[in-house]
């Protein structure tokens, strides 16, 4: 029998994987993918809570999270493109000065 714990454990593992991507990788785009993984892990936790507590509010929340994540990705990638135009790099190690 698959209970709530199993889903939450998968969610926790996926969250830590996303966090590992944010910490370990130095390419800005891959860091963004790590952020997406973390958002998805939270979505999985919300959907499983919704299923196991007999309320649909969790699913509505996930709907909003997906919408906000789409907007966030668009803005973030536009920022990366603007940064690349100025500095010709997407490595975080090269972005050490505040001044453009």
């Amino acid at each position: 029998m698959i209970g709530l714990e199993q889903y939450l454990i998968v969610s926790a593992l996926l969250f830590s994987l996303g966090m590992m991507g944010v910490i370990l990788r130095r390419n800005l785009i891959v860091i963004y993918m790590g952020l997406e993984l973390m958002l998805n892990a939270a979505n999985l936790a919300l959907v499983s809570f919704s299923r196991f507590t007999d309320t649909i509010d969790g699913q509505v929340m996930v709907f909003f999270v997906i919408t906000v994540a789409a907007a966030e990705v668009a803005v973030g990638l536009a920022l990366i493109v603007a940064l690349y135009r100025k500095r010709q790099t997407t490595e975080v190690g090269d972005l050490t000065s505040l001044k453009l």
């Binding site: 698959i2 209970g3 709530l4 714990e5 199993q6 889903y7 939450l8 454990i9 998968v10 926790a12 593992l13 996926l14 969250f15 830590s16 994987l17 996303g18 590992m20 991507g21 370990l24 990788r25 390419n27 785009i29 891959v30 963004y32 993918m33 790590g34 997406e36 993984l37 998805n40 979505n43 999985l44 959907v47 919704s50 299923r51 196991f52 507590t53 007999d54 309320t55 649909i56 699913q59 509505v60 996930v62 709907f63 997906i66 919408t67 906000v68 994540a69 789409a70 907007a71 966030e72 990705v73 668009a74 803005v75 990638l77 536009a78 990366i80 493109v81 603007a82 997407t90 490595e91």
Partner: protein, 166 residues
């Protein structure tokens, strides 16, 4: 059957998620994006197992459709060469893995210790109709605000991608 599918989908999610962030064979961002597609599709499978059919469809359409295409567009637009920056900072890798293991272990230990799933049974039949009713009655204000947010995001992206940023 359901248990088998749960194990298959969660294993796929976790393995592909790992290959997104730490692929041992290549550090090409396009490979990471492709594994992100696999992660998201198998997560849609988990959503189906949780009876969230509409969200599974939205997940595939929005993430695997729109977001990944955006990622690939940017990767190819920037034409990032993965130059020979392969020198791993060993200290950073060890510290990162340590932090990862502690966070993951902490979360899992907390989940198991809290007994959160005790005598909870999966009985919510969340049909798309229920979701729509909830969305357009109780959550209609956040829904409208979300529309405004998407508009603001769109204008922001257009402004940011102008050639001479002032």
């Amino acid at each position: 059957m359901q248990e088998l599918l749960f194990y298959i989908f969660s294993a796929l999610t976790l393995i592909c998620g790992f290959l997104v962030v730490a692929n041992p064979f290549t550090r090409n961002p396009v490979t990471s994006a492709m594994f992100l597609v696999l992660t998201i599709v198998s997560m849609a499978g988990l959503f189906v197992l949780l009876n969230a059919f509409f969200l599974a469809a939205v997940q595939v359409m929005v993430y695997a459709g729109a977001v990944i295409v955006l990622f690939l567009f940017v990767i190819m637009l920037l034409d990032v060469k993965e130059v020979e920056r392969q020198h791993y900072n060993l200290f950073g890798v060890v510290l990162g893995l340590l932090g990862l293991l502690s966070v993951g272990g902490m979360l899992i230990k907390a989940i198991l210790a809290s007994g959160v799933g005790k005598d909870l049974h999966p009985h919510m039949e969340g049909t798309t109709k229920d979701l729509g009713m909830k969305l357009f009655t109780d959550y209609v204000l956040p829904f409208e605000i979300m529309g405004v947010l998407l508009l603001v995001g769109m204008i922001g992206v257009i402004l940011l991608s102008k050639k001479n940023l002032r």
